[in-house]
Symmetry: C2
Subunit: 135 residues, 2 copies
DNA sequence: CTTGACCTTCCCATGGTTGGAAGCCTTATT
DNA sequence: AATAAGGCTTCCAACCATGGGAAGGTCAAG
């Protein structure tokens, strides 16, 4: 099948399929006489794998490793688990960062009257934080 | 003071100060005879404001609005609050996304033996998700 | 044989930041 | 006065993942 159909079937856009090929995440597709990329059900299967890994927040390099393990029949599930848990650690770190930001802002916003007067603790905090960082 | 000193004093790198000037987030700095950018304590104050807004996860466009409100003596605190809460909503949405990913991965990892055998529910899920999405 | 839908490659843009190169300026030391 | 070090300038490129679009080739149906 052509790239458009493979894109529809896999949920990966044609643009991204070409990009993944370019960066070597997937092997170069077979070509028709006219130079059209040709994809098998196997290929679509791999693209769907990639799509789901991305949905789980894996970066391309992580997906590259996952694909390697996927293809490696003699893999150790410990390696897969370790890769996944490293990513979870990463996610949790990002979540904590965002959570800190949200909590700070909510605290400040709660203290803000939110009326037509100009005074606002949010701006005050941005101007000169209460917990003076020693910078 | 020169840009290096302003960078050190504000916590915003010299590179970023020039970038913020280029995109009009901050007004063009005064220049010395030799063309060196000159910064006042006022300028550093503004840069610190920007730095803290970024630390709270605001994108440049949000900071632009915040700076506008900051400078506007007749601002309504309601507008500041609204801007902040919109950002919180954004943060919470991102947090929820990441949390979903982390939870899914943790569930799968928990079911993975993590030994030297190849079978692994993480890879199985990526290959063919249990809750078949109707794509 | 034309039309329209596909495909190809190539370049550009995003956002925020960092890196580097080439060249000028300032300051301090010889 | 010459020189070396380090700071400044501008410009260009890269990162990551994705989308947009142009210019041109191809395929299938009418």
């Amino acid at each position: 099948m052509n790239i458009g159909e493979a894109a529809k079937a896999s949920g990966v856009s044609a643009k991204m399929i070409r990009y993944y090929e370019e960066i070597g995440l997937i092997p170069p597709a077979a070509r028709s006489g006219a130079g059209y990329r040709q994809y098998s059900d196997q290929d679509v299967h791999m693209l769907r794998f990639i799509r789901r890994a991305r949905d789980l927040g894996f970066a391309v390099e992580g997906i590259r490793e996952l694909l390697g393990l996927w293809r490696d029949q003699s893999r150790h599930s410990a390696d897969v688990k370790q890769l996944a848990m490293a990513h979870v650690t990463d996610l949790r770190r990002k979540i904590a960062e965002l959570e800190d930001m949200a909590a700070t802002l909510e605290t400040l916003a709660r203290a803000c009257h939110g009326n037509d007067r100009p005074d606002c603790p949010i701006l005050s905090e941005l101007e000169a934080p209460a917990d003076m960082p020693a910078d």
